[in-house]
Amino acid sequence: MKPSVDKLKSRRLSLTGKNSLTGFLFTLPFCIGLLLFFLPNFIQGVVFAFNQVGFEPGAFTLTYVGWDNFYYAFRTDLDYGNNLISSVSSLLYQVPVIVVSSIFFATILNRKFFGRMFVRGVFFLPVIIATGVVMKYFQLDSVTYGVLRGSTETSAIFSSSAIEEILINSGLNDGLVEVFVTISTNIFDLMWRTGIQTLILLAGIQSVPASLYEASSIEGASAWDNYWYITIPMLSPMIFVSLVYTIVDTFSDATNPVMSQIQTLVTSLDNGKASAMAIPFMLIILLVLALVFAVFALINRNSKPEKARR
């Protein structure tokens, strides 16, 4: 009853074909969504950048102006270039701080301790409160303002000038001191932006099969070994997600100088200029993401041989 080799071969080929069709079918809803909703609107946005946009009931009136809007952004507008640079440079310290602390928080929240449920609830509060209108009112309110914006008002110990002096006197590099001071004055703000990442990573930690830990513990691995050789590698896809999310979130946050500039232009219905400012900004985000993707691909390639041997 053995099927001939030829038959097996042809069947397998058709299976690969079938497989790739199934794969495509899984993504089909998204592809339709792209064609119906995302791409038309996105292209419209790009077209805006080359036009003077007017609004009529039910339609846009477009007057072609070529690259004028881009000239305006880079030559006429004094703030735009600086804002671009400052948002990229703030990314350099914000993203590592946020991602590392959320890995740390997720690890803590995965431990068993008294009141864990309560603490988990508290850690997630920023996600519920910090997105949206509630936060806007918070920044206007005098009582909450002091706590959320800069610790300088709430505690003298962390007032930046005192620490700055100590650090400079201890002979640290000026640049390093500046980075440290920026982080310490923004620590409340930064901690407030870890909620999403912490939860993504917590879900990731909990998806690690318990059998892996059992096996390694039987082999005599310590908790520390388990963490570095099982949890972190198994978590790396989710660390990647939180990295990407943090980058995009930092860029598209309403407090980002470029975003608020674009927001102002959209509010005053100057969509052409707004689009012209948004496009280079998106290109920069894409570039940063491409870098992150490349680095992760490299790490994956280097660690593959070990995995295969498993």
Partner: protein, 320 residues
């Protein structure tokens, strides 16, 4: 007791102390604003800005909550927001997990291009799309189908504004609010899962879709819970799109909350807002009460969904 043991104990005590102190500090950072909201919302409007009151309100009253409910047109708004959030969350959870699974486990031509588009949808900020999508929903005409059928049907487009479809329709197709991010989260989480069970199921003759429902979904419960939670909260808290799409009497809670000051203005409370200090604090009470009303549902949902983060751990313990 030997010295080694004592040192070990002292070390773990020191670590635990550090751990507890750190937690207390972080809890303070995270919980302070919520406490402020609650305390201001339940204290009587006159006493809420009393400088001698820090944590315990002198006079508890429901006036703030009641007034905020009236100002925000609360029950209809709550219904609308809940409808949007629930439907769009379910829709985007299904569509995005399917797309994420397709991208994580299959090889097919054009896959990388599709993934590149997923990343693009993550990167494009909402503000870039609000105006074009507003017009496309006002005159909704996918691929010109309605224009072409106009002679028969008598209309060339549908107005989807002020309906939940503005959120649910894109979500059904995986391009809803932060849809790209959800596809990405699903893809990454499926990539990290062991393939063994799926392969076994496929060899036993289980179809691809059935494998997805029977094997993948139960395995990825933590990821699903995370996405459901995020999607629900982001839809609930969304302001950009909601403010653009809804202009009728019934608007999502965030839009009502944002307009609460103007509503006070137009409902004749105008004179009192900028008046004496007493009335300014009344204003503050109403706003905080509005904030409390807005975040109440996501808060309860989170407390409820939290359990699934732990339950799923036992399920994931695959043997083998």
């Amino acid at each position: 007791m030997n010295i080694h043991n004592i040192r070990k104990k002292a070390g773990s005590f020191g670590f635990n102390l550090f751990f507890v102190l750190l937690l207390i500090g972080l809890i303070y950072i995270f919980i302070f604003p919520l406490l402020t909201i609650i305390i201001t919302a339940i204290s009587s409007p006159e006493s809420s800005a009393d400088p001698t009151v820090l944590w315990v309100p002198k006079k508890v009253s429901a006036v703030g909550i009641k007034t905020a409910m009236e100002l925000m047109n609360f029950l209809p708004s709550l219904g609308l927001t809940a409808e949007i959030s629930v439907l769009a969350t379910l829709a985007s959870c299904i569509a995005c997990s399917l797309a994420g699974y397709g991208l994580a486990r299959f090889k097919f031509p054009g896959k990388n291009l599709i993934f590149a588009f997923v990343v693009l949808t993550i990167v494009v900020p909402p503000i870039f799309l609000t105006n074009p999508s507003f017009v496309s929903f006002r005159y909704f005409d996918p691929l010109n189908i309605f224009s072409l059928t106009e002679p028969v049907t008598g209309f060339s487009s549908i107005n989807l504004l002020d309906t939940v479809w503005t959120f649910v329709l894109p979500a059904l197709l995986g391009v809803g609010l932060r849809g790209g991010l959800f596809i990405f989260i699903f893809r990454q989480s499926f990539l990290g899962m062991p393939k063994d069970l799926e392969e076994a199921a496929r060899i036993d003759g289980c179809g691809a879709f059935k494998t997805y429902v029977r094997i993948i979904v139960p395995l990825a419960v933590p990821t699903f819970v995370t996405v459901i939670l995020f999607s629900f909260i982001w839809h609930w808290n969304d302001f950009y799109y909601s403010a653009a799409y809804f202009m009728n009497d019934t608007r999502p809670l965030t839009v009502e909350l944002s307009a609460i000051a103007e509503t006070m203005y137009s409902s004749g409370m105008t004179g009192s807002i900028m008046g004496t200090s007493g009335t300014v604090t009344a204003y503050r009470t109403y706003i905080m009460a509005g904030c409390l009303l807005t975040i109440f549902v996501p808060l309860v949902l989170y407390l409820f969904l939290q359990r699934f983060f732990i339950e799923s751990v036992e399920r994931t313990g695959i043997v083998g």
